[in-house]
């Protein structure tokens, strides 16, 4: 659309300046890099079958997790604690993958900070556990974000993560279990709100993407721009924040306290899922599902070599993150202090930087050449 506008402006000015009768007005040649692509199917697919389906999965798994915490309150056994831990990890997966499209209700309803504030405030959490308040969902919902959400529940489920990521039911108090379950209930309420905001009512957010020219997206170009910027955002955050911040400049200055999901030792799975989320948007389908239209098809319409290159760069980045653990399967919180693992971490940072540069400099800029 941008190109189209430019052409109109050129045409008008040429008419006005050159005057009628001039034959010199045909020099407004279209640049060779321009391309056409019908993005309707891309937007429909990514909205319905990637974003909304991902949020539906998140909500389903949040429900299952809440039930697992109720079981734990009612029947405090090691088996039920393990089941709750696994249910937490299961809910974590669609959330982390969904971070490749952090826009819309997840942001405007403050669901991201409610669910995923990091770091948590362990001092305040302990004060509340030592206090006298009854832990209901209503009570938890009024608390600060740094004593609720994923990481608060993670801390309660897995312990402090320093020596191991295992916790026995004998180490878990009744008030911890009650706090966990009330927080899980609030948590599930937010995942329900998120899903509903996308699919329900007159203002369902999915419609803003599917039927453009509204108060949020003026065109399909705007939606595609949003989707590409969403990918860039999480690649930047993983490479330059989640990994780089605790990694620091040297093993001596590595900062464990900045490692996300350090209690469960789920950090590398989180980061991997983040970039798998990018892959989902880029390819248009979840891993292993049948081929559908994604950003790759938009890129392919402009430059098939670039389309393949970016897909490869995503694959390489995912592999590089997985490789950080090494043969000893180090959790990330230990890897940042390990000399050999630090080489592998740097390789992952580099792979993410390469991918980010391609998305920013080569993919996002295609919007300028796209004749919508």
């Amino acid at each position: 659309m941008l190109l189209k506008k430019t052409l109109i402006a050129l045409t008008v000015s040429t008419l006005l300046l050159s005057g009628c009768g001039s034959s010199s007005s045909d020099n407004t040649t279209v640049e060779e890099t321009s391309f056409t692509f019908d993005s309707t199917e891309l937007i429909t697919n990514l909205t319905n079958d990637v974003i909304v389906e991902g949020y539906e999965t998140l909500n389903t798994k949040a429900n299952a997790f809440f039930l697992a915490t109720q079981n734990l309150v009612n029947t405090p056994t090691d088996e039920n604690l393990l089941a709750a831990q696994n249910a937490w990890k299961a809910a974590r997966e669609p959330w982390e993958q969904g971070e490749s499209h952090i826009f819309g209700p997840v942001d405007s309803l403050s669901i991201d900070p409610h669910l995923d504030s990091w770091p948590l405030n362990t001092n305040d959490l302990q004060s509340l556990l030592d206090g006298t308040s009854t832990f209901s969902a209503d009570f938890i919902s009024l608390l600060n974000d740094d004593v609720q959400g994923f990481h608060t529940m993670e801390f309660l489920l897995f312990g402090d993560g320093v020596a191991d990521n295992e916790k026995l039911i004998a180490e878990m108090t009744l008030r911890e279990r009650e706090y966990l379950s009330a927080t899980a209930e609030v948590f599930q309420g937010y995942t329900q709100d998120l899903y509903d905001a996308w699919v329900s009512g007159d203002d369902a957010y999915q419609d803003k993407l599917l039927t453009v020219d509204n108060d949020i997206y003026v065109s399909q170009l705007a939606v595609v721009e949003e989707l590409i910027n969403g990918m860039i955002g999480i690649v930047d955050e993983v490479g330059n924040g989640k990994i780089a911040d605790p990694f620091s400049e040297s093993a001596a200055t590595a900062d464990t306290s900045l490692v996300e999901s350090q209690y469960s030792w789920n950090s590398l799975t989180d980061f991997t899922d983040n970039i798998i989320g990018v892959q989902n948007v880029y390819r248009g389908e979840f891993d292993g599902a049948a081929d559908k239209t994604g950003i790759i098809d938009f890129v392919h319409a402009a430059d098939s070599t670039l389309a393949t290159r970016v897909d490869d760069e995503i694959t390489v980045a995912i592999a590089a993150i997985i490789a950080i653990a090494g043969e000893n399967e180090l959790p990330f919180r230990q890897a940042i202090s390990n000399t050999e693992a630090r080489v592998r971490i740097q390789a992952a940072i580099d792979a993410l930087a390469t991918l980010q540069a391609s998305l920013e400099n080569d993919v996002l800029t295609l919007l300028n050449d796209w004749e919508v």
Partner: protein, 539 residues
């Protein structure tokens, strides 16, 4: 630089440009020639001059892009400020990260981004089904300013404390509705515990009204109404005895606002703004326009003879620079002391004394070296960030309705206050007391604000003086980027308390000096009303 007279493009066209294109050049019929005056801003895409960003101007990152003209060092500083802007401060003490602690002990939010979501407006609070009000908490990007009513203040001087508002005894001039876990003595009470509550609980509800157009269509408007409960200075039973619930206390809700393009606004020459002022409406157009003269903490710090400057930022233009605005919010809204504002927001109040005594004096507003909680580098970076966020480029500028709306925008005199353009200063100029970056200088910008105060009528009035601004006056908001507001945050609202859900509602709330323009807008045909809205949305 002298651009007060709106430049116009005079184009003699046959009905419209499309007519030229369609009819061809051989047509000799000129019997329907109409002269259309297209305001100079009609086809301007780069509202921030060269400091405009176009790569994200259609999507949710539209307010979050650094100015493209920053050099490498400036970009690095900007990105450091970006991280600072999202830094959530924590309760003191934080042994792992002492550089992050010290929030509050009472505050409105823990990071900048919560009130300026994605560098734009915060989400408007919605009332859940089955409830009639909502307690302001971590999702709220709005707070209440407050002060004792002491009449108007015309000329700031040392004798009247530079027209500063008189805060409420024991509270101050801003109601901090949140707190750290133990801010209130009753944080873990057996009944009605108040964990994470600040000076008082603030609830928000709405009252509704309807505006009818002559063509039979109507618009429902909503207005926030606030209720204050559990103020810290009295028991629950004696609520009405609280200092903040006395008859002479005035409140003004303040919603977060966008933070891009601010450095450009600060580099508009003061003389250019004052030249637009028409305090006594000498030109009899119904629009006056007054500057606000406000206390300047930087001049005071530097021992200037009269620490007063032209107000430029805030809903009532009550701060003179991005630096005083940002660092004032850091200390006030978040409770993070800094080199410009080194004292805790609630220093010397009974609540602070009680908190310190109950918690062993661990959060006195200074770090372990006796320095402010945020250091100079952190402060400089976050200020620079807000000064150098790019203005987003326009969209749909050739759309027929947008072009028609641009003409109507001038015809019904929206431009009387929403002054389209300025050229920023050049040469050796300062920004908040430090050298201004070159990228902001000499830019022809289109912010659509005259940077002045205007009486917008009783319906919108907060009835609270703010320095020399009276209770009916508000500063003209810049309109650049406004069309991306909901793209950046779908739940955002407009005006000082977020009451307007869209541009049309915002227009309809305009009264006072803007009443004639509002009346003219309401008298337009539905198509023309939509055109005017389309133009504003293209900005």
């Amino acid at each position: 630089m002298n651009i007060f007279t709106q430049k116009k493009q005079y184009l003699s066209l046959i009905v419209s440009l499309s007519a030229i294109l369609l009819s061809g050049c051989n047509s000799g019929s000129s019997d329907k020639k109409t002269v259309i005056e297209y305001p100079g801003y009609t086809y301007i895409e780069k509202l921030g001059g060269e400091a405009t960003a176009v790569n994200a101007s259609h999507s949710g990152h539209g307010f979050s892009t650094p100015m493209p003209t920053l050099n490498a060092d400036e970009l690095e500083k900007h990105l450091a400020g970006d991280a600072n802007f999202e830094t959530a401060f924590t309760t003191a003490p934080n042994s792992e990260h002492p550089e992050l602690d010290g929030v509050g002990p009472v505050f409105n939010n823990q990071d900048c981004n919560s009130c300026h979501q994605r560098d734009g407006r915060p989400s408007t609070i919605t009332i859940p089904e089955g409830k009639n009000r909502v307690l302001l908490g971590s999702s709220a990007g709005i707070f209440l300013r407050m002060s004792i009513d002491d009449g108007e203040c015309a000329e700031p001087s040392i004798d009247n404390n530079y027209c500063k508002n008189e805060g409420v005894p024991g509270f101050g001039d801003q109601l901090f509705h949140r707190g750290v876990l133990r801010a209130r003595a009753e944080w873990d009470a057996a009944e009605d515990a108040l964990p994470f509550i600040g000076q008082a609980n603030v609830y928000l509800a709405y009252e509704y009204s309807t505006v009818n157009y002559a063509d039979g269509s109507s618009v429902e408007l909503k207005k926030p109404v606030f209720t204050i409960e559990r103020p810290y200075d009295v028991t629950a039973e004696n609520r009405l005895d609280s200092a903040i619930l006395q008859a002479d206390v005035r409140y003004s809700p303040r919603n977060g606002m966008p933070v891009f393009g601010l450095g450009l606004l600060e580099l508009i020459a003061e003389a250019d703004i004052l030249a637009l002022a028409d305090e006594n409406d000498a030109d009899s157009d119904g629009i006056s326009g007054r500057p606000n003269w406000v206390f300047d903490a930087i001049k005071a710090r530097d021992n200037g003879p009269l620490p007063v400057s032209l107000g430029r930022f805030g809903w009532k233009a009550n701060t003179p620079s991005v630096r005083t605005q940002s660092l004032g919010a850091l200390r006030g809204d978040m409770g993070i002391t800094n080199p410009l504002f080194p004292d805790e927001s609630i220093a010397n109040t009974a609540l602070h004394e009680s908190y310190l005594a109950r918690t062993g004096y661990v959060d006195t507003g200074a770090d372990e070296n006796g320095e402010p909680e945020a250091d100079q580098a952190f402060s400089d970076e976050v200020v620079f960030y807000a000064e150098t966020l790019a203005v987003p480029g326009r969209r749909n500028i050739n759309d027929e309705s947008v072009v028609a709306g641009a003409v109507l925008f001038e015809q019904i005199n929206c431009t009387g206050c929403h002054q389209p353009d300025f050229t920023t200063l050049t040469g050796d100029v300062k920004l908040g007391g430090v050298d201004a970056p070159d990228t902001l200088k000499g830019q022809h910008i289109y912010p659509f604000t005259d940077m002045l105060l205007h009486d917008l009528g009783e319906s919108l009035a907060d009835n609270r003086r703010d320095f020399t601004a009276n209770g009916n006056e508000w500063k003209t908001r810049p309109l650049w980027g406004i069309g991306l507001t909901k793209t950046v945050n779908p739940a955002a609202g407009f005006l000082h308390d977020g009451r307007a859900d869209n541009i049309e509602e915002a227009i309809l709330w305009h009264g006072g000096e803007a009443q004639q323009s509002t009346d003219d807008f309401m008298a337009l045909t539905p198509i023309d009303r939509q055109s005017l809205i389309d133009f504003v949305m293209s900005l």
